[in-house]
């Protein structure tokens, strides 16, 4: 059975002439989620919720692994959303709002104010990473984001997101 993700004409616009991903499709999101869910359950050992959002911050797909706490779903979505709107991994945001390290980053204490912006939706916990178009480096080229919640260690959340991200180019 052919996998149903949307209309065929839409799928063709997801890549540029060089084959680089320009837009995250549902098929890509499923592939990323499958890899990330397996990574969280089989390698990290903690079932997680993982969300993939598009450049508009809209959720494309969200999966909660069997056994992951229900509240992790929305945190995963918030992390992916935060990575997209700020154009950087949420662990970076965590650095910004941490008074202990804020003085050592270029922005200094100025950035502490981003904590709980966007009506509390901006999430500064490790685990959300933006997905960029290949070949560019500025924040304007974010095409989506992936976020994970469910691991007791923030670094693990980030690793699970990276596992999902890697599957995009698999």
């Amino acid at each position: 059975m052919e996998e149903v993700t949307g209309l065929a004409t839409e799928r063709e616009t997801a890549f540029d002439q060089e084959g680089h991903v320009k837009r995250i499709t549902l098929g890509m999101a499923r592939k990323m989620l499958e890899a990330a869910v397996r990574y969280s359950v089989e390698i990290v050992g903690f079932p997680c919720s993982i969300a993939v959002v598009d450049a508009a911050g809209g959720v494309i797909a969200v999966h909660r692994a069997d056994g992951a706490p229900p509240g992790t779903v929305d945190i995963a979505i918030e992390k992916a959303w935060s990575a997209v709107v700020m154009g950087m991994p949420t662990l970076m945001l965590g650095r910004f709002i941490d008074p202990r390290v804020a003085t050592t980053v270029p922005l200094g204490t100025h950035a502490i104010g981003i904590a709980n912006r966007h009506r509390g939706r901006l999430c500064a916990i490790h685990g959300g990473i933006p997905i960029r178009e290949v070949g560019t480096s500025l924040g304007l080229d974010v095409i989506g984001g992936i976020g994970t919640s469910g691991c007791p260690s923030a670094d693990d959340d980030n690793t699970v997101s990276q596992a999902g991200f890697s599957a995009l180019y698999d």
């Binding site: 549902l26 999101a29 598009d54 999966h63 229900p70």
Partner: protein, 139 residues
């Protein structure tokens, strides 16, 4: 039995096949036996808010143990005991049709919500998704 992630993914896949056959793009959300989201996916052409609406419908159908379209009768001012405080229930309460409870016998084991087409189309997609529980889809 309860709804696992694998079951939910099969249901969504089957539902999206039906939606494509009907010629519309939709979002599908599946909640488990406690009303918590298991999986939600949005088709390529579906509008962004449809995913949240589908999630609301799935929760409503689960919580009331009836199709979400039937909830409206509780809000009818001419009926007895009428009136909803819609700010309650995690803001998830919706009276829009397109959400069905997943039943095994008399017990509700989850809910499915679809948003993207007309109410009739959404319900048809829900029914296809529920049927997929019994017949696992090929990956």
């Amino acid at each position: 039995m309860h709804i696992t992630l694998d079951t939910a993914r099969d249901m969504i896949r089957a539902g999206m096949g039906e939606a494509q056959r009907l010629g519309n793009a939709c979002s599908i959300a599946i909640v488990d036996e406690n009303g918590w989201l298991v999986a939600a996916e949005r088709m390529e052409d579906a509008l962004i808010p449809t995913l949240d609406i589908a999630r609301d419908k799935a929760w409503t159908a689960f919580a009331f143990k009836m199709p979400s379209s039937e909830i409206g009768r509780f809000g009818n001012p001419s009926a007895a005991n009428a009136g909803f405080n819609t700010a309650n229930w995690n803001d998830r309460l919706t009276t829009i049709g397109g959400g069905l409870p997943i039943k095994v016998g008399n017990s509700v084991i989850g809910g499915v919500g679809v948003s993207g087409g007309t109410e009739k189309e959404d319900v048809a997609v829900c029914q296809t998704a529920i049927k997929a529980i019994a017949t696992p889809q090929p990956a």
